[in-house]
Structure formats: C-alpha cells, structure tokens
Amino acid sequence: MTAPVEHSATVSPPVIRRLIDGGLIGALAIAVIGAAGYYLFPNNLALLTRMTAMALLVLSLDLVTGYCGVATLGHAALFGAGAYGAGIAAAHFGISEPLTMTLIGAVAGAVAGLVAGFVILRAHGLAQLVLSIAVIHLFHEAANKASRWTGGSDGLSGIMPNAVFGLFEFDLWGQTAYIYGLALLILVFVALKILVRSPFGMLARGVREDPVRVGAMGVSVHSVLLRVYVISGAVAGIGGALSAISTQVVGLDSLSFTLSAEALVMLVLGGTGSLYGALIGTIVFMFFEDTLSAINPFHWLTIIGALLVMVVLFAPKGLYGSAVALVGRFRRRQA
C-alpha cells in the first residue's frame, strides 16, 4: 500500500494517518458492524459470539502465519488451552469472575504458545507443518486422558461465570456474552495494531521476508518467533476463554485439528498478514457456514471448498488483500 511519494523528505505522518495505523478505524468498524449484528440478528447472538471468539483465534493465527510466515495446522492448541484454563478455573476452583477467567485463559494460552512454539519452531517448512499437526493431536489426547479435570469426551461443564463487573449477568439470550466478547475483540484488535507497527512487529515481518537478514542484523530469529508465539497464545487463549464463558462448556473440539484447519482456511480466505483480513475471513466463512448448512446440511462444506478454491486461484491475497491491491491499482491509475 505504498502511496506515491510526493515530496522527498518525509514529514512525520499526519495525525489522521496515525489514528488509522493505531487501529482506531478498525476498532470503530468492529463496533459498528458488531452493533449492526446485534440489532439485525437478535436471535442469533450465540453465533455472533462464536464468531467473535473465532476471530480472536484467527487473529492469533495471523500473527504467527501472516506476520512471521510460520504455517501451522495446530493453532487450536492455544485456543483450547485458554478455553480449558478458564473452564477448569471456574469448574474446579470456583473462579467465576469473567475478567479473571479471561486473564487465566490468556495466561494458559500463552503457556501453550510457549510449549507449542518450542516444538514447532524446531523445524522448518513441511516438517514444521507436520510437527504442528502432531502438537494439536498431543494436546487433544492429553485433554482426553485428563478427564478428571477436563471432563474428557463428555466436555467440561459446570462453568457458571458471575456477572461482568458484578452488574451484567450472563443472560439466556447471550446479550451480555456478545457485548463482552465484542469489547474483548476491540481491545485485542487495538493492542495488536499497536504491536504490528511497533519495532517488534517490524522484526516479525522481517522474519517472514528474510530470516537470514534478520539474523545478520544481530537478532535471534528463534527468540522473535517464540515471543510471537507466546503473544499469539495469549490472544488465542482470550478467544478460548470467551468461548468457555459464553457457552459455559468446553469440549474436546476446541482442541481439535479441525478447528485449527478451519482457522487457517478463514485466514487464507480473508488474507494473511493484515489484521483486517483475519476478521473478514472469519465473518465470511462463518456466515457461509451458518446459512449454507441451514440450506443444505450435507453439502455446505462443498460450497465452502469451492469458495476457497476461487479465492486461492483468483484472489491469492485473500478477500481483503485483493481488495486493497485493487484499490491501490485504481488510485495509481488516477494519479
């Protein structure tokens, strides 16, 4: 998205530009779209909350895959760790304050990120992808075996979160859960916007572009990636915690290969390497999933598959990335 340079010496970017980079526009967009969803689909808030939790997972994946170039099919391990972390805290330790649960989810996700990152980052390329698949299966199996804590294949129930700030009870219609999730998403989005344009965010992009060059600058590539994995884990963990809080149950599916793969599909659909792409991919995928599976419960995956093939073939940068490229080309022609 390079704007044509008009004058050689660059002045510090104007305030508006900074606000855009700082995520204000994005935060507003999430709030507006979120509010629209709230009023347009008042009976479907559970789906919208699921979308929000999923968006956090896809954002988290975008950090690792989009910004650092690490392809992984095991990212749900971080999400599931957050979900189980928050869920176990509530079900076994009576910690039912939602903000504390969310925090526990973030920490659990970060720890899972450290562990998963430590394993996955040992390898490169195809071996890395295979390791990531192994990681998600190990996490899944561990949760299955530790049924005393996780409820095993029956799922973990008995999660009864308190009212948010002691004021807003989690209601039957999921209004509180939805608004709580939306607030979390906005906060995380702004934090990530700040992160990706920070020096550390530039380093992460550098690792994707050329790890050898990053090393030649005196930076340990491995430690950059591991730090990204921990941050990514915290984000996914918040998503997992949100899922545990809103559905009041945690199942093994939150630690599944399927969820990992779906998250990757959503990211590719929306476009890697930009936070907006992650959000758009999640919304489009889950919207299609919901409507198509209602229309045709047997073949909706086929349509999703066809959609993905179309995107990869004709818009390889994803929906958002391709739109940006199109606008850029149009502007350049006008200039």
């Binding site: 050689s8 010496a9 660059t10 344009r197 920070s198 550390f200 572009e209 090393g215 030649a216 930076v219």
Partner: protein
C-alpha cells in the same frame, strides 16, 4: 598497528577436504582489504566461519581483545562484526526507511519494543534520513524495496550494514549483479565508508578490488598464498599459478 580483528590458524574440513587450511588474517581500524581467489578457493566458507554461520574445526577469531570463536552469529553482529550478502537480502515488503530505522533500533537495543513507532522519534528519523541521503536513497525512502532497482537495493544493503555501526564490515561482492553503468555509484558509496572502519571485501571484480583495496589477500585451495600490496599481487608467481593466468590481464586496468 593495533589489530581490531584477527583470525588465527583457522581450519575447516568438509569430509577430509581442507576448505579452510590454517588461515590467519589481521585487520586494523581503517583497513581496506580485499580477499580474492579463484572459484572454489574457500572464500564463502571463510566468510561463514568468520560470521559464525559455520564452526571451525580449530583456530580462533578475535574481535578487539575478545575471542569470539564460540559466539553465535547474532552475538558477533552485536559486537560490531557486520556482513553484507552477495545476493541482496532485504525485506522486500518494507521501505528503505523502515530497513534503516529497524537497523538503528536494533543497534540501540530497542527492536524488541512492542509499542510505539520509529517515526515518532525525531533523532532516529534524522539519522535515517542522513544515512539514506548518504547513499542517494532519500527519494526512495517510502517505496517498497521490491520496487526499487537492483543497484539501489545493493546500496540499501550497505546502508543497512552501516546503520548497525560496524567495527568490522565484511562486504561479500558488493557490486555483484549490478549493471556496469551503476557500479560507479556503489564504488563511490564504498569510498565514503567511515575512515576508522575495517573493511574486508570479498570479490572477483578486479577493477573494483584494485580501486578499493589498500591490501589484497589471495586465497587458493583454502590457504592464504598472498597478503600484501595490490601492486605486487599481479607479479606474484603463486598467485599467477593459482589463477592459471585467468586474471593476469586485469593487471593492466589497475
């Protein structure tokens, strides 16, 4: 003459083949040394041993008074041993301004910061502009590296190395792949490198070597066969033999 950088009795074998065989080299501040040698002489291996990308079988590498033989590559960079690459290695999605800013941030130990943006730091921006100006890249500050000409990418590569404030700079064929018409700009940039910097340039381009270097080291079959003044290198019998006369003609240009 104080030695800033020294390689002592460096050896590396690959499956019985001595690729680096008892190499000893010393550099002082301000040195402009060229390392040349026929293909397969072990130049690349030597660079990798020095930068820490390969481990030597024996021998030592010193920077200042410190033995850095066992240090990892990134740690050597942080101590001021910086290299450039034969084929440009840049972040194609980033602008020259971002490249240089990131290098300065890294030098200052600020590259791990998770908040803030470099453009909010006037002193840093000033230095970025000065460095880009020095290399004639100021007009291209905000254009992605993939969209600028290869010759300018090569200049950016040197600018990036310089932004890290090296004590010793290893230039691996700084003009490789650049059209003849643009090599003059790279040469001019090399001429303006800080006076107290020790530079070791690895190259085939004899014209460039003879114009740049005050001292030439010739590597053949993993051994240093010549270490002396450029004017003596052509006359040296062992060098002539090593090159089988391939570059003997290049002497007339010097």
């Amino acid at each position: 003459m104080s030695t800033l950088f020294e390689v002592r009795n460096l050896r590396k074998n690959f499956g019985g083949l001595a690729v680096t065989n008892d190499v000893s080299i010393g550099l002082a501040p301000g040195d402009r040394v060229a390392l040349i040698g026929p293909n397969g002489a072990g130049k690349t291996t030597f660079v990798n041993l020095v930068t820490g990308n390969l481990k030597p079988d024996s021998g030592n590498v010193f920077l200042g008074n410190e033995d850095i033989t066992t240090l990892r590559a990134a740690e050597r960079v942080r101590r001021g041993l910086i290299r450039s690459f034969q084929v440009t290695r840049l972040f194609l999605d980033m602008t020259p301004e971002e490249h240089v800013a990131l290098a300065i941030l890294q030098r200052e130990g600020q590259a791990g910061r998770v908040v803030g943006h470099y453009s909010g730091r006037p002193a840093l921006m000033q230095e970025v502009r000065e460095i880009l100006h020095q290399f004639g890249l100021l007009e291209l500050s905000n254009i992605k590296a993939q969209e600028i000409a290869y010759g300018q990418q090569r200049l950016l590569e040197i600018a990036l190395a310089l932004a890290l404030r090296p004590k010793v700079l290893l230039l691996d064929e700084p003009a490789a792949g650049v059209p003849q018409s643009e090599t003059a700009r790279i040469e001019a940039a090399l001429k303006r490198l800080p006076a107290d910097l020790a530079v070791l340039m690895i190259d085939h381009d004899m014209d460039l070597v003879f114009r740049f270097a005050k001292r030439v080291i010739v590597l053949a079959a993993g051994t240093v066969i010549f270490d002396g003044l450029p004017k003596d290198v052509i006359a040296d019998a062992r060098v002539r033999e090593a090159y089988l006369g391939n570059y003997a003609d290049a002497g007339s240009v010097a």
